[in-house]
Subunit: 142 residues, 2 copies
Amino acid sequence: MRRVRGYVAERELVVKLWKMGFAVMRAPASGSKIKKAKYPDVVAIKSCKVIVFEVKSRSKIDNIYIDEEQIRKLREFTDRAGGQAFIAVKTPGGMWKAVELGQLEKLNNTYKVSKDVLLKSKELDEVLRDLKLIPTLEDFIK
Amino acid sequence: MRRVRGYVAERELVVKLWKMGFAVMRAPASGSKIKKAKYPDVVAIKSCKVIVFEVKSRSKIDNIYIDEEQIRKLREFTDRAGGQAFIAVKTPGGMWKAVELGQLEKLNNTYKVSKDVLLKSKELDEVLRDLKLIPTLEDFIK
């Protein structure tokens, strides 16, 4: 169930980013062990800027736990690419939040996105505007 | 048969580029119609430089024909990303050649990589060295 929801959310994110003008790539074999070991869920590139996403979808706002190994691979990919990594979370209302890796809390073999961090995190669109990757309202006024 | 060979070649290219220090992503559903319509075969990123590949593998050196639509999608992805696109061809001896899109010959609904262009094309490693994406011998001497 969670796997199916994750797959649907990934595809939604791909379409959203594509419409924003990004070149977007989704990992093969979504949800499989193989993918987890190698690829981030979604990679979006625009004008040589690279954004790497681990994608989560939740039917209620709560703590999210992510395998340490997955975060390690996400970091390695991002370092190689010279990009920035986020946990993209589709929240119950359908809004996308972007959590920076620095916001994650390290537990034993997992990283935790606390409910509180999730609530305070910026919307994905806002993060992309801050990074000058999508236009702001001001860009249209100028 | 060609599909299986294509899949194996893509995986080989991914491993090769990963060992060279690239962040590498392979398209989902290799060989399927869906993938062809959306994603390039392989995307490699290093220090914010993006290289996009359509992958071909041939058991003999001959003309290669590629769907016009595939090239159009490859170009669009590359333009959005701000990268460079190549046709990566695994030749019978196992050597990888990189053909620039400008070298392709437009026919009716296809693009052709002529046998002659393929023979004269640079090795992939040489192209990556020219782009300063992998070190040259001189870098070790300095």
